[in-house]
């Protein structure tokens, strides 16, 4: 009955969070549907000419992925805060900055990963060249992980506010911008035949930086939120 080790505890939390998401399949399906619908809205708002669509597809796909991530980030810690679980997590003997990684991991698995895997379908709807699909998937895999980590910081800082609401979007959208730029640049490069490697490498570097620093910021943010 001794306290579980940190790795084991994180594993437990990851299982728990993924199960919570799976309990409501709608929760997992929603970001995807949102993605699909915004992708469908763009031709409606911009006009359906296929060549134009292809030209803007990288940007549109990436903006949508980003918004879809933004919309779900707010919920990462919210329900745990509301029912008091977060207090218990903060009091847990295991280091907080590692346990929050499990939360982010689960968030990424249920949004970013799925989005990346399904993105080729949407890309084809927007007439993105076939050659760029691989780059799109890889850039989304790397990029959404960074987005989840940054979004987690915003969520941690705002979860204790009575009506945090959209404050989180103000906090994290500016931080999302480098990811958006490198991500859409990678896809743009691939779709115009230029090697996309450097951009993907930059995304990878951003991911390393985010993994190293974001958990610390999240842990600090959660401790503050609990107290507010």
């Amino acid at each position: 009955m001794s306290a579980p080790g940190t790795a084991q505890f994180c594993g437990m939390l990851l299982r728990r969070q993924v199960l919570l998401a799976v309990r409501r399949p709608i929760e997992i399906g929603n970001p995807l549907l949102f993605f699909a619908m915004v992708v469908a809205l763009f031709p409606l708002g911009l006009g359906p000419a296929p060549d134009k669509l292809a030209q803007f597809a990288p940007g549109v796909l990436w903006i949508t992925a980003l918004l879809s991530n933004l919309l779900t980030s707010d919920g990462v810690f919210r329900s745990d805060f509301d029912d008091g679980s977060l207090e218990q997590l903060v009091l847990a003997p295991q280091p907080l900055f590692l346990s929050v990684l499990a939360y982010i991991g689960a968030h990424w698995l249920t949004t970013g990963l799925l989005l990346a895997v399904l993105s080729p379908v949407f890309a084809l709807m927007l007439n993105l060249p076939l050659a760029a699909l691989g780059t799109l998937v890889v850039s989304l895999l790397l990029g959404t992980a960074v987005l989840s980590l940054i979004g987690g910081i915003g969520a941690a800082l705002t979860v204790g506010l009575k009506r945090g609401g959209m404050l989180i979007s103000l906090l994290i959208l500016p931080l999302y911008i480098p990811v958006l730029i490198f991500g859409s640049a990678a896809v743009q490069a691939a779709s115009s035949g230029v090697p996309a490697g450097p951009y993907l490498a930059l995304l990878g570097a951003l991911l390393c930086l985010a993994i190293a620093l974001a958990p610390l910021a999240m842990a600090a943010g959660l401790r503050i939120s609990i107290d507010a």
Binding site: T158, L170, L175, P178, L206, A220, S225
Partner: protein, 248 residues
């Protein structure tokens, strides 16, 4: 070093020292601003291409330069507040955010006003302009986060975390926006060549930049003093001050 650092943590001391600094810095700043204005607006030749509209540079550039520097001041204060748990650093950070936001806004606004006669448009998505806009959002985020918390001590800590995260990101944002700009087809309108600035325009500009730094410091200190009074409203020294018996 350490005694000063320790003293900095003491509200009454800070209140007193900032009072005496302001007493000479504020008039000096106003004077410098006045001189700079007169020098820039009256005693420099009109630009051969832009005519007189270029004179807005004497507001625009100093505001932009100091706004950027302000973020680092704020983030530094945030770091101190988190690492050494110094309450006064919180106050400094909180005071820096709105001043920085205002300066950023001034830079954007004067830029837009300037853009209309020179570029024929209020706004272009130039790399530098875009990153300035993002900087404004970063500032507003800090202000908004602080306002959203009821417990102001917690608010200070939260903002410190946010400004540190922002500081890591500012270079990344700048780099990425630069790249982004060079990636896409260049905009049809461009900045006028900026290194070709004439010395007769440069000196008043440098003067104004220094004056804006001083202005930033003054606003920061004034803002801090209000914050201090609000936070410490229930302590002895503020009560004494209100009763008119404290010094300064």
């Amino acid at each position: 070093m350490w005694p000063i650092f320790h003293k900095l943590g003491s509200p009454p001391w800070l209140y007193a020292i900032s009072g005496s600094i302001l007493r000479w810095l504020l008039p000096l700043t106003l004077l410098a601003l006045g001189i700079g204005m007169v020098w820039g607006l009256l005693f420099t030749a009109p630009d051969f291409r832009q005519g007189n509209s270029y004179r807005i540079i004497y507001i625009h550039v100093p505001a932009a330069v100091v706004a950027l520097a302000g973020y680092y001041v704020m983030a530094l204060a945030g770091a101190i507040s988190l690492i050494w748990r110094m309450k006064m650093a919180d106050v400094a950070m909180r005071a820096a955010a709105p001043v920085g936001a205002a300066l950023t806004f001034i830079a954007l606004f004067t830029g837009a006003v300037w853009g209309k006669p020179t570029w024929g448009t209020w706004w272009v998505w130039d790399a530098r302009i875009t990153s300035m806009l993002i900087l404004l959002f970063l500032y507003l985020g800090v202000v908004a986060l602080y306002e959203a918390y009821d417990n102001k001590e917690a608010a200070g800590k939260a903002c410190a975390v946010l400004s540190l995260v922002g500081m890591v990101n500012i270079p990344i944002i700048y780099k990425s926006v630069d790249w982004w700009y060079s990636l896409h087809q260049p905009a049809s309108i461009k900045f006028t060549g900026d290194s070709t600035i004439h010395a007769s325009m440069l000196y008043p500009l440098l003067w104004m930049i220094v004056a804006f730094y001083a202005l930033f410091t003054c606003c920061l200190l004034l803002n801090m003093r209000t914050q201090l009074l609000q936070r410490e409203a229930r302590t002895q020294w503020v009560k004494k001050l209100a009763a008119g018996t404290g010094n300064n």
